[in-house]
Symmetry: C2
């Protein structure tokens, strides 16, 4: 992108590590699927590709969500919050599985009293999702 086209990226308040938290929400039913991080380059790539490209903090590299599993996130809308430090994506989740555990979404634990309980089922065997180490960081 030419420098003059990067104004929208300059308006984001990147943290000390050059990252911004990104929430992925299902464009259909509004479920919050996951939260991950992007740096400037990964957000620019996301826009160019039309699919979510996060920055994996643990692996220190771009993480094109679904690059192995095929469960890409097609981006329908990119939103920014009032103070510019959080991004919200509305996505079409291919394969209907956003979580590396094979569940629809990463938020599959619910606080029940003082205990976390898993209340969402595994839709796809995670062993079939990845050939090597792609996961949610």
């Amino acid at each position: 992108m030419a420098a003059q086209d990067e104004q929208w990226l300059d308006e984001i308040k990147w943290n000390a590590d050059g990252l911004v938290p990104v929430i992925a929400q299902d464009a259909g039913d509004g479920q919050v699927l996951m939260m991950a991080w992007m740096n400037r380059q990964s957000l620019a790539r996301t826009l160019q590709l039309g699919e979510a490209v996060y920055w994996s903090r643990s692996r220190g590299r771009f993480w094109h969500k679904g690059e192995q599993s095929g469960n890409v996130q097609e981006v329908r809308e990119v939103r920014l919050d009032c103070d510019g430090d959080t991004v919200l994506l509305r996505v079409v989740q291919h394969g209907d599985v956003a979580c590396h555990t094979g569940r629809r979404r990463c938020f599959f634990k619910r606080l029940d009293g003082l205990r976390w309980v898993v209340d969402e089922e595994v839709l796809t065997d995670p062993a079939t999702l990845y050939s090597t180490d792609e996961r949610n960081e």
Copy 2:
């Protein structure tokens, strides 16, 4: 809380600053209202009170959302993601305004081409919301 009751808090992966990002989602229509941060104590207080109590990083103190404006967030559900480092709350947003700008939600800017455009209206004059400095950090 007694130490034996804090196991659920121990299962959260707090960051280096002792914080976790918290997404607040409307329990009714599923809108993502805002993202803010909590520390261990503020999440414990949230549970005890049944209303969202964040940790304001800018002010370095507890931030009981709506303490001045009355726009509290009644917590209906607390969820945790697969790797334990992000919390999702489903809330009833009192006053129907989550953002300090007087809008329904903080994500009121949408990327249109290469430009952020505001596409949500101000529902409440922000001057009437706060007597001093309560805002989204």
